[in-house]
């Protein structure tokens, strides 16, 4: 058989049998499928069974399932037990090659049989999902725990971090549709995207959040502010007061339950597919378009953005999940943004099914006084649905409370729900 090495398989098994105290720990990283010879599979399965039963690996006990184990030991060459990790790595590589070979043959055979391409793609996707692909995204639970511990440490040490500018995000979410949320810098894009991710995750959805602007830690601190209803600045600058810690701990508990994956590493659009597919997510949010790159060479930035949005669209159709992409609008032009404001490439408009703008009316007035409420906690924003493939367009007033990273609907000119008390879990 190609992509198999029975000698290495035997070495690994023999090392484990001869030196169980040292090498039984390696059994966990192996599977029956890593072995190709039926006899080796049988020996490995017997080893695994013993461990699963809480027993120690013992050749005499193994002989119950493998009666000729003495012969196997006796006839095998002397192992080089010190290299077991290298040998296991080799077995894993060979297994992957065998699987890929099988997948390739399967694809060819399916094509010959005239099976629908969509069905073949779905099979490939399932296969990729079954692989243990190492990805760069971290589960929100791990990030939340890390941020919480860092906060405690920072406050104890009196360490200060630079104040980070707040940024924004948005949504309209249907399977296979791609939504762009455009806003000028500083309007609240990332906060809006986070709201979407948070709301979806609290409904039990899995969200993959690609952040090219902020680190996972920065994003998580904002989520802490949102959940605990404690000023985000306190998390950012590590200045929590004594009575905040209980709420922060509750927020940690709440965040840990959310199925959000924060990926602040992926920069190339072509890499997104595998990572998202391997996590089996319900929604994908990308913050933000202009910070994505492509491996394809484009002569101009416009074309590059075009390639990126086209790739995203293809991926969106294949994944069949809602994809939300944030996009930064030009600072110029203080008036309400229109579809023409989507900068850098016309493809943005073409490739997206839905277009939403977040507009800060106060920025229109530039030097004039702002319309912020007297507490100055809220920003009045306009949510503009400029394009919706399967729905209406429209404009809505909303309030944004930057300190808590929260958005509110407007009722009789006032934000609804902002007075809700701190939650306890």
């Amino acid at each position: 058989m190609m992509f198999a090495n029975p000698d290495v398989e035997r070495e690994v098994l023999l090392s484990i049998i001869l030196f169980p105290d040292e090498y039984s720990i390696f059994v966990k990283s192996l599977e029956t499928g890593d072995f190709t010879l039926e006899y080796h599979k049988k020996v490995f399965q017997a080893i695994k069974t013993l461990l699963n039963e809480g027993k120690k690996i013992d050749a005499v006990l193994l002989s119950n399932d493998v009666p000729d184990i003495a012969k196997f030991i006796d006839e095998s060459p002397v192992p080089a037990a010190a290299n077991i990790q290298d040998y296991i790595d080799e077995l894993k590589k060979l297994k992957l090659k065998r699987d890929l070979e099988k997948l390739g043959l399967g694809i060819v055979s399916s094509l010959k049989k005239g099976i629908k391409v969509e069905k073949i793609l779905s099979g490939i996707t399932r296969y990729i999902q079954s692989l243990d692909i190492q990805i760069d995204a971290l589960h929100i639970k791990d990030l939340a725990m890390q941020v919480f511990m860092d906060l405690e440490k920072e406050q104890k040490e009196g360490k200060r971090r630079p104040i980070l500018s707040l940024t924004p995000v948005a949504d309209i979410l249907r399977k296979g549709e791609m939504t762009v949320i455009g806003a000028r810098p500083g309007t609240g894009k990332t906060a809006f995207a986070l709201k979407m991710a948070y709301d979806l995750a609290t409904q039990g959805k899995a969200v993959y959040f690609i952040s090219r602007e902020m680190t996972g830690e920065q994003i998580t601190k904002r989520l802490f502010a949102k959940c605990s209803r404690i000023d985000a600045e306190k998390f950012i600058k590590a200045t929590l007061e004594d009575n905040d810690w209980k709420e922060a701990a509750n927020a940690l508990n709440e965040i840990s339950k959310l199925n959000i994956f924060i990926d602040d590493k992926t920069s190339h659009v072509e890499d997104i597919y595998l990572k998202v597919v391997s996590k089996n997510v319900d929604y994908l949010i990308i913050d933000y378009l202009q910070l994505l790159q492509t491996y394809e060479k484009a002569q101009t930035r416009d074309r590059e953005i075009g390639i990126i949005t086209r790739t995203l669209k293809v991926m969106n159709l294949d994944l069949n999940i809602p994809v939300v992409v944030l996009s930064q609008l030009n600072r110029e032009g203080a008036k309400e943004p229109t579809l023409a404001a989507l900068r850098e490439s016309g493809n943005i408009e073409q490739d997206f099914d839905n277009v939403i703008f977040l507009h800060d009316k106060n920025k229109d007035k530039e030097e004039e006084e702002t319309e912020e409420t007297e507490e100055t906690n809220f920003k009045k924003l306009k949510l503009i649905i400029a394009k919706q493939r399967n729905g209406k367009t429209g404009k809505y007033d909303i309030y944004f409370e930057p300190s808590l990273m929260e958005f509110y609907d407007v009722w009789k000119g006032e934000p609804i729900g902002h007075q809700k008390e701190r939650k306890t879990v």
Binding site: L18, A59, S63, A70, K71, I73, D74, V78, P79
Partner: protein, 79 residues
């Protein structure tokens, strides 16, 4: 004058391994025929491994020694 030493054998580790083998021999004596067969195979393999490790060390030590002797002779010629 020759300087430096050849790699040393981990005698403490080997002593422990020999002790383990001795324990295995005692087990063989006490065990039933089926167990005896298995323990014998393990004993033999472990002993072979110890021997192999020793042979490898000896080969490496000899090579190091040869190299040092050559260097020594070369230096002697030059002086």
């Amino acid at each position: 004058m020759m300087c430096g030493r050849v790699s040393l054998l981990d005698t403490k580790k080997r002593e422990k391994q020999y002790e383990e083998l001795l324990g295995l021999l005692n087990e063989i004596e006490k065990s039933n025929p089926k167990q005896k067969e298995i323990y014998k195979a393990i004993y033999k393999k472990k002993l072979d491994l110890l021997m192999k490790e020793f042979d490898l060390w000896l080969a490496r030590a000899n090579a190091e020694l040869d190299k040092k002797i050559k260097e020594h002779l070369k230096r002697k010629e030059n002086t």
